[in-house]
Each structure stands twice: as C-alpha cells, then as structure tokens.
C-alpha cells in the first residue's frame, strides 16, 4: 500500500515536470520517457532496422530474443530467450538488466518504479 502511494506520487511529479517541458504540445508522457530512455539504441516502428539494440515494435508478448536478424548476446539468450515479454518480465528487466541476465549486452537499471511503469505503459499502448 505504502509503495503504491509512493509510486503514484512519483508518477505525479514526473507528470508535472514533463508536462511543463512539453510546452503545450501533446506528446504522451510515457512516449517521451520511452524515447529518452530507449531511443538512443532502439527503434520502435514496424520494419525499422535494428540499432545498437533490437527493434522493439510489438515487444509485449513476443518471445525474448526473437527479433529477426538481431545478434543477441549468449547471456541474454541463456537467461531469457523464448520467454514472452510480460509486464512483469519487462519490469524486472528494466529494474536491472544485469541482475536479471548478468553478462548481457545492455546495461540499464531504473530504480524508480514510477518511471518503469510509464515505459511499460508505452509498450502496452503501442503493442
């Protein structure tokens, strides 16, 4: 209960800040956060080529390690390969990629559950 309240407060604060930044333009908060957290290495639209990381179109429910033509690290495939990207798995992955699949190529961690939630929401809404 306490953590849910905290999470809502955090999401609220993020919202306030990001809305101030958006300066009238309607870009969804979760889309913005996802772009800034994931967009340097990943692409999101169907048929866009892979970047440093694989294309993430339709991520939720697809099996991990299945983007055609992308070279996943052995560690990633061993730990996660074939598991469907559920909300829970994505949350654990975003919390600390190296805790979930030590030795995999992506180094990312996000301690703030509110921000992870926003990123997951983006993938849900775009799936």
């Amino acid at each position: 209960m306490r953590s849910t309240t905290k999470r809502l407060v955090i999401v609220g604060l993020i919202l306030a800040g990001w809305q101030a930044m958006a300066q009238g333009k309607e870009v969804s908060l979760s889309e913005k956060l996802t772009a800034s957290h994931c967009g340097a290495c990943h692409t999101f639209k169907r048929d866009e080529p892979h970047g440093m990381g694989p294309n993430l179109h339709g991520l939720l429910d697809r099996p991990a390690g299945s983007a055609p033509g992308y070279d996943y690290s052995d560690s990633f495939l061993q730990r996660l390969g074939g598991q469907p990207w559920s909300r829970e798995l994505l949350d654990a992955w975003l919390a600390d990629t190296q805790a979930l699949a030590p030795g995999s190529a992506m180094t990312y961690f996000q301690d703030d559950p509110g921000k992870r939630e926003l990123i997951i929401q983006y993938f849900e809404s775009s799936n």
């Binding site: 604060l13 993020i14 306030a16 800040g17 990001w18 101030a20 930044m21 956060l33 800034s36 957290h37 994931c38 967009g39 340097a40 290495c41 080529p49 892979h50 970047g51 440093m52 055609p68 033509g69 070279d71 190296q98 030590p102 030795g103 190529a105 992506m106 180094t107 990312y108 961690f109 996000q110």
Partner: protein
C-alpha cells in the same frame, strides 16, 4: 539524504538552458555564461564526498578510483543509463609501458614514447633535440602523466574486477613506421570478454564498470543533467545544481570535489560552428554530449584549450543528419573493388587513410571556386565488394543484407547509380549548401574507374599510395578470398553492375577541447591556478594530443590515467565546511 523535488525559483534559468541545449543558434553561445555560480546558503538535496558529472568512459573509472579510496561517491548522469560514447566504442585502450607488454619481455621506454607523441601532436614545432621536444610545458607534462599513470590505473581496474582485460600483443601503433625499428608493439588492451572482432568492447567495459560501481557502493543516478557549479565565498566548488529528467532542480553537495566527465560538444551545433577547425556534421558521440562543461566552466573563469580539434572519423551523412544514436564512425572503409570520389567524380584521397587523418580531406577548401568540393563524397563499390566485404563492425559503409542499409544507393548501371546519388543529394540540399554532382560527373567517374583499375591490376596506387602502410591493411576489412593481388586493398571495379554507393562526410567520435586542467585533473583559470575543488577528465577537457590520434585506444588509455590521477588528488582535498 533528503530529496526535495521542486524549486520554482530556478525555472527561468532551467528553460534558458534547455533552449540552448537544443542548439538554438543565437542562444547557445550566450549559454556559455549560463553556468551559474551561486554561493547562496540554500539546503542541499543530497551530499557526497566526490560528485562525478557524467558516467561514461572517464566518469565510471574516476568514480571507482575515488570510491576505492574510501569516499562517498555519486555519479550524476544526464542520460537514462550510464555509458556515454564509451558504450559504443570498440574500447581499445592504449596503455604505454603496460604490464602485459613488460611481462612478455618487451620494453617501452619513456623517451621513445615522448618523441612519438610529440612528433604527432605538434609536427610543426617537433624537434627531438629540444628538452620538451617542441611541445609546450603543459603538453609535455600531460603526456608524461599518461606514460606514468595509465598502466597503474588499468591494473587497479583489472585487479578489482571492474575492467579485466586482454592484451593484444600484435597491434602496431598507427604511426609505428615513424618510430622505425624500435617501435613498440602491444600498447593496446581490450576488455577481456570482447568478441573476436574486437568491436564490441564498449558494451563489455560499460557493463563490467557499472556492475563494479554498483557493487562497491558508487551511487549512479541517471536522468540528472548538471547545469551549474555551486561555489562558496572563497570560490571553491562545493556542489552542483542538477536538472532532473522530470524537470525538477536539485542541489548536490560535494564535500571534497566535483569531477566533470561529461564528454565533448559533438551535439552542440553552435559550439562546433564556433570552435572546430572543420565544419563537421556532428558525429557519433553520445547524443547527450552537448558541451555542457564548456558553458558551465566559462562563468568560472576556466582557461579553454584544444577547442579546434576532435577525435575525427568519416561518417554517413544521412545518419549524422538524422542524429541516429546508434551511428558508428567509419573506422574501416571496407572493400577492395571500392573507391571514393568527390562531386566532380574524382578520387582525391587514399580511401584507406586512417579515419582521423581522412577527415580533413572532406573540408579542403577550393579558393578558386569558393566551395568545398569534397564536402560529401561517394564511396562506390561493385557486387564483389558487396558480397565479400560487407560487415556490421567498425562502421563499415558496406553492410550485409538484412541490416540497416538505408544509406545504400543501388544502381544496375553507373548511369542508374548516379541518378540515385543525385536524387539523394537533392533531398539533403538544405544541409549541404545545395551540393550537386557536376555535369561531367559520369565522364569523370568512368575515367577515374579506368585509372583505378589499371593501378589495382598492378597492385600499386601511384596516385594516393593506397594500402602501402601496414595499418591500412589492418583496417582493410574482409575481401574476396583468393585474390592474387600484391595489394589486398585494391581490386579492379567490375565493368558490369550492379553498383552501390554511400554518401560520406567528416564527423567526430567526439571533440577534445574544453577547460584546461593540470596533470591532476584540476581545472585551471587563466593564470594557470587550479579552481579549487573543480576537476575535469576525458573529452570535456583539453587534450594534450592536439590534432593527433596516436593509436587505436588513444582516447581511452589516457582517460584512465587522468581518471586515476584526478581521483587521487580529489581524495586528498580537505572536507569543505559549507
């Protein structure tokens, strides 16, 4: 630690910095003085001994060194994850007189090292008979510091499991031929688990450094853009102001020191335009490297140095204009049946010239025509090169099918190809000063190919000496097996299509100018006095290398040395009382 979130008073400045960060021309240079100095005795949101601004190739090692000395250390990283440009790097690191080299029974004496770096950094004043070899006192001391400290730094990182390495005993320095018979081999180390292609070292290094940092209690906080330095009334740096990705402002106290490790200004068009010696189209540094420390430090009276030079690399024009975060530099201009021509259809450079050395060719000025004839060049290759030289590594312009090949223009005949090139150039006309192929491009290209093919058949490039240096062959990439040519970098271009092309220009891995520091990483003012409590390392500060790219790994090896020295000096600072 308390984390207060909102400070309405800072909103206007915050918005100002945001605008300049976005590269809006008129504002950005004004932004140079936006690094606010505030001595106001406001509360801090968090406190540490040492605050490292930026968590890339220099910040992570510096934070670890400081932490291992017992300090409370935080990394404030602007992006959403650590790594910066270093995450994209091959992460070769060039370490003179390293332990592996010595253990193998080889030597790397300091005088030879100093002559090598002096000759390349300041060729115009180099004189081996002078005590400082023609370098300035500052350059000489900084190069000495690299020789002394890079090896102990990397040994400590390896010993603590933060960056275990593999020695690459047979990689020569880029200019080993200048050093003659005494040239040392084996100054290059790579992260231990790097793949055999040795191209993915950055991902490995950032992973092991980050895991070690978190294991050992370095507090890495992401989405935190440092926007100014807080100083006390004596002028000592005692903290920083941070803008979070949520748009809130925080004040972070540094009891001992603030170490900037925030990368160069590749992604600030206004700084590039005003300081770089070449009008490059950006480059492949982390997108968050926007020259923040140049702005922040100018209001602190820091002395700038080496602002005109960058670690340079050819890049794909289209990816640079798209600000593609995954873009690499073209380290290997792959293909034997491949050549590169300018807008007149003429070869103007040895296509296998080392990346850093190739870049000035793009910006050669033609004073008669008042134009840059080579601003965008076309690399052109045939099916043989496409089949045998395509690679995903080292930024190869020839890429395998099924990978990101949006930059590739294909034509069944040379005429088709040229039409495709012209159409593509037309799309980018507003970024290239309306650069077009000249009307005689096709005729010239045919003559160029004819000449190139003659030279290739003889295995000798009488025009540009392609493939004559050992290092060019090292960076040649794959070629078709069974070639009988004495020069594996050249093969005649087929008389039949299809043909392929890519638009190439000059860019940066990142810039290498900024505030000047002393050999302990302390930022200097214009009287050469350290600004108390303020440190800088990596590409956010002035490099003593001038224009030179001494060898593969010549950015990261020296960075380790200065990260180590800065952390030790910062550790020795007294605790500030404010």
């Amino acid at each position: 630690m308390t984390d207060k979130q909102q400070k309405p008073s800072s909103i206007s400045r915050r918005h100002f910095i945001k605008t300049s960060g976005a590269g809006v021309a008129a504002v950005a240079l004004g932004g140079l003085s936006a690094g606010t100095v505030s001595a106001a005795p406001e509360a801090y949101d968090s406190e540490h001994d040492i605050v490292v601004c930026g968590g890339g190739g220099s910040g992570l090692p510096a934070a670890l060194f400081a932490r291992w000395l017992g300090n409370d250390v935080a990394i404030l990283e602007k992006a959403a994850s650590p790594g910066g440009t270093a995450a994209k790097a091959a992460f070769w690191y060039w370490v003179p007189n390293n332990k592996a080299l010595r253990d193998a029974g080889n030597t790397d004496p300091k005088p030879e090292f100093m002559r090598y770096v002096a000759r390349l950094s300041r060729p115009q004043s180099y004189d081996p008979s002078l005590p400082k070899l023609g370098l300035s006192d500052w350059e000489y001391e900084m190069c000495e510091a690299i020789y002394e400290s890079a090896s102990p730094a990397v040994e400590l990182l390896a010993e603590k499991g933060a960056l275990p390495y593999r020695h690459v005993p047979d990689v020569p320095d880029y200019w080993a031929d200048l050093a003659g018979e005494n040239a040392p081999m084996g100054r290059v180390l790579i992260p231990k688990d790097t793949s055999p292609s040795m191209a993915d070292g950055g991902q490995v290094a950032i992973r092991t450094l980050t895991v070690a940092a978190r294991r050992d209690g370095v507090k890495i906080q992401t989405g935190q853009r440092v926007v100014s330095v807080i100083r006390n009334e004596k002028g000592r740096a005692v903290g920083v102001e941070v803008e979070t990705e949520e748009g809130t402002t925080r004040r972070v106290r540094a009891r001992k020191a603030v170490i900037f490790a925030s990368g160069g200004f590749t992604h600030d068009p206004e700084l590039r335009r005003n300081f770089l010696s070449m009008p490059v189209y950006g480059g492949c540094a982390a997108l968050t490297n926007e020259g923040d420390f140049v702005r922040i430090s100018s209001s602190l009276g820091a002395q700038l140095g080496n602002m005109n030079y960058a670690w340079s690399c050819p890049i794909l024009l289209e990816k640079a204009l798209a600000k593609d975060g995954s873009m690499s530099g073209i380290f290997t201009m792959t293909g034997d049946s491949m050549l590169m021509v300018n807008k007149y259809g003429q070869r103007v450079v040895n296509e296998k010239t080392l990346y850093n050395e190739m870049v000035p060719t793009f910006f050669q000025w033609d004073g008669t025509r008042a134009e840059y004839p080579n601003l965008v060049m076309c690399s052109i290759w045939d099916q043989r090169a496409q089949d045998h030289s395509a690679s995903k590594d080292y930024g190869s312009q020839i890429v395998p099918d099924g990978t990101d090949n949006r930059h590739i223009i294909k034509g069944e005949t040379l005429e088709d190809l040229i039409e495709g090139i012209a159409t593509r150039l037309h799309q980018y006309r507003s970024d290239t000063g309306n650069l077009k192929l000249s009307p005689d491009f096709l005729n010239n290209l045919k003559a160029t190919i004819h000449r190139f093919n003659d030279l290739a058949r003889n295995g000798q490039d009488l025009d540009f000496q392609r493939g004559e240096r050992a290092v060019e062959r090292m960076f040649n990439g794959h070629v078709a097996p069974g070639s009988k040519s004495s020069n594996p970098t050249m093969h005649p271009i087929a008389s039949e299509g299809p043909y392929y092309a890519a638009l190439i220009t000059g860019g940066t891995l990142d810039t290498k100018g900024g505030p000047r520091t002393n050999t302990h990483g302390q930022v200097l003012d214009y009287a050469n006095r350290p600004i108390p409590g303020l440190y800088g390392i990596g590409n956010c500060v002035a490099s003593p290398s001038g224009r030179a790219y001494w060898s593969g790994g010549a950015t990261l090896g020296p960075i380790m040395a200065f990260a180590y020295r800065a952390a030790n000096q910062a550790h020795a600072e007294p605790l500030s009382q404010d």
